[in-house]
Symmetry: D2
Subunit: 308 residues, 4 copies
């Protein structure tokens, strides 16, 4: 079966279920997104793009941004980042603070909120939040080869006003000396990265470097080394879906990173980057239909990293 | 470079480091094993076997047996097993009891001790421990195609006499109604499975079904479905090394399962099953040189599931 | 108002509520006790005894026995006991194991189950369980000045058969090296001490030494020093009711120790020892009516240690 | 022995140890306090004041202020306060956040930091921080009958600048809906209450209402009901010294509240209020010499609530 047929079939299989799950409501702006949407985009390393459904509708990528910020931070400080954040699954919710107290303010991995805040602190590197946000925006536009990608400031503002748990996490890390910059600055960056607005098409293209040994095959731009691409994929597989990472690996079998906006970016190493989006979330906070779409795609393509 | 050259090279690169790490001493019998040993065996799906070092020396496979017991239990009760045990990384040590109290006696995954005890309870299925142990032994001989594999009763006895934490875990689960059989019977099975004595060669062959869509390519025996093979691999990748699983995925990039005897079995889906053994353990309880050997092998072969 | 009038009034005030709460059902034998009972006994340091209701009906004193065992253990090893067990409130349930893992197998205090098991280990002191149980029985008969007090072996057997959590706690401590004797022996003592069968009258008299500077005023026997009596009272006040200790201090204001059999022994230093009993338990596992009775008695007598 | 002789004797017994312990250094301003100081003041219900050492030197009362704020809050909302905060010992450090996550943002008791922040929120009651601080200041001057008591704004500022953990706690509670006012306002009150500057003499007098059935015997002012006085005393005994409360009850036997400034206020119901101060802290964060002084005083006076 050719790829477009697969994407179409997955979309039509899931059409009856569109609207499943629960839209995130703890960020007021996200609660307003209409739930009945499903987008799928597959960007292959050979340069093709296959889409279905709402693949051209921009959405808030939220935690998926953590993958790009980690890429940036690794570029800045290399493996030194692991003094500031671990790389083990957390065994707890995305916004848990318990582990921080037990482990001296070092977050378990860069994909839980606390870890991403530490990464944002590393990316700040003495600059103003505005500059760091600008750097991220330039980076994401570069990897996606798309100058139209932007940040939704309404969403960023909404999170700033209500993100008490993130303020708690940041202050807690600061108390342990694991933030170099003022809490407000670090969270300024963090809330803006989460508010990046992208379509499935843009996101699939942006992830291609992780599927292609660190090089975007569309532009030829080298983003990271092959080894680093593998390592980021490994982190996505073990830690990319909070306390649902094991389940995602079990059912989908691809490195991936989800966001509470309902997006998921998944990587089939050597083959493709995939972006799916549907706002309704399952119990562990990942897109219900997005997960289902990826499971079907992995099944039909045989792309699971765990065997065909 | 051909495979034998790779295996030889890895062995010789690591020779100067033989003896690194700390031999497990909480099981008296294991503490007696001479530390200066390193074995490597790679069994490919095409039927070749490549070995180096102490690949023909039997050792206690300990927790690696959890993979085979899970395979057996899935065969008995299918996906129903997930009512008894979760499939998420635990974020804690192999013998932690904290999570059990917080999550009503349901262990996080089948590869931490508590989870493996629940799996042993499933395999017991109303029989006597002797029969269940016999069933496992027949199974392991079948998948390894080797009738000489046996259980080291001295090790089993040693663990029975000192395995207080396992008794604590089992009694705790029993209190929550998550054990169907008496604690002594379940642990009877558990301590004997851990005392399986195998060589790297035997273990590599025994794991081949997981690398080859569920079928042992040497015998043609179908052990599990391709889907189930993928899923067991996924569990090994996310949970196979306790609280060092993230690190192992990051550095090695292969599904694997370690044991405190110093063995590690790793799977390169579509390519090979690998067994390494060296008694000295690193801080998180995995073979120090075994991990290093697998990292080198993955690097030289490009077998990482996260990209070449 | 004279004391008998107070006791009668409290009994009659509570009569309409007899049967409140939930009888402990995790020990099968206890579940059989008829719930509609309430006994009150006040033994004053001046030698009087005031009773009401079912004060002459024997019941299983359960955890109240921990006070007497602690007294025995302090007699054997003095303040050295505090190397084996702490003296801080636990902030968790009576049978929690989480704290043991976080604090290296040292229970928080002698009145949670784990702590009492450590105390039983100290009392064993190299003897057989039978001898330690005999010693406790002699001690309790001595302090209560009553040779008829006995142990209900059916209850002890019932707990032995179902006390999985206590087996878990004991094995866990043994794993940390905080038990000197085999788990079965220590729990043999523990389950028998819990099965002590006493009436409110007997229990009130048995507690008198704690109200009277360490000396039983009825017999003149010196049991402990005044300082030790004060200290045991302090432990009862801060830790005597598991995670309901703060609440009990707030409402009653007397050192006390509850048991899941529905009994509570409370001490009014300088004035009296009080025993109440009613099988129905409140949410934190203390006798619902027993707590209410003590609150009323403390109110009417002005015996609260926190001011009149 | 008369009271002045006791106070003098305690002071002279401890003189050789002056300087013991470690001055709190996480609040920069407190770290500057010279350690070699010890003050003792005993205010009896009969109206006498006995002092020794540095009893007239003002110090930062820090967490001792929590007793007065709780009194104020109980006056405002009565027993309704217990919907916002528990009254059980926490079993953890004064600034732990773990319990908040496990118990839905309800702090365990009003004397750990999180609980005191909730109490400050209650006292705010829709007003500006300035007004709430003014109210507290008026209240403390009233109960101490001393118009010279003031707040050290340098200390308040120092805590505001470095109190990351308190910001974390407050944001965390706010995330759970357990703060009605903005975090900055609540902490504005909290940091100023902690910065109250008082001498031992002032503090002993301020505590007298708790020793005298709710009435200050010097002024005749009724502050709380006898029942409420008892209950506040009960809370101080079970929760007044964080994770050292059990130990304090064991050794001293009086309700008390400590502060990281090195002060402790203790209550001998029916007899006296005692204030001691010495900046060096012991391992659990209570004044080392202050604790020792109170143990000696309790011993020499027989004031322990647990028996003479």
């Amino acid at each position: 079966m050719d790829m477009q047929a697969i994407v179409d079939q997955v979309y039509s299989e899931l059409t009856p279920r569109i609207g499943e799950g629960k839209v995130a409501d703890y960020i007021p702006e996200l609660a307003k997104v209409p739930p009945n949407q499903l987008g799928i985009a597959v960007a292959t390393v050979s340069g093709e793009l296959y889409v279905a459904g709402d693949a051209a509708t921009p959405f808030s990528i939220q935690s998926i941004s953590k993958v790009f910020m980690l890429t940036l931070a690794l570029g800045k400080v290399g493996e030194g980042i692991w003094k500031r954040v671990g790389r083990e699954p957390s065994g707890s919710a995305f916004n848990s603070i318990v582990q921080l107290e037990h482990e001296s303010g070092i977050p378990r991995n860069p994909f839980i909120n606390a870890g991403a805040i530490a990464v944002a602190d590393v990316v700040l590197a003495g600059h103003q939040p505005k500059e760091a946000i600008g750097e991220l925006l330039r980076f994401i536009r570069y990897v996606a080869d798309d100058e139209t990608i932007s940040i939704d400031n309404t969403v960023a503002k909404s999170e700033t006003a209500t993100g008490y748990r993130n303020f708690a996490l940041a202050n807690f890390m600061r108390a342990f000396g694991n933030l170099d910059h003022p809490v407000e600055q670090v969270l300024g960056v963090y809330f803006h990265q989460c508010a990046l607005s992208m379509t499935c098409q843009q996101l699939a293209r942006a992830g291609l470097y992780l599927a292609n040994r660190g090089v975007n095959p569309l532009t030829g731009h080298s983003v990271v080394s092959p080894k680093r691409a593998r390592r980021i994929n490994a982190l996505m597989l073990t830690c990319g879906h909070y306390d649902g990472s094991g389940d995602f690996a079990y059912h989908v079998g691809l490195p991936g990173k989800s966001g509470v906006g309902g997006g998921i970016m998944a990587i089939a190493p050597g083959d493709a980057a995939i972006a799916v989006w549907s706002p309704g979330l399952n119990k562990v906070g990942n897109s219900a239909l997005g997960s289902a779409a990826l499971e079907l795609i992995a099944q039909k393509t045989g792309w699971s990293v765990f065997g065909s």
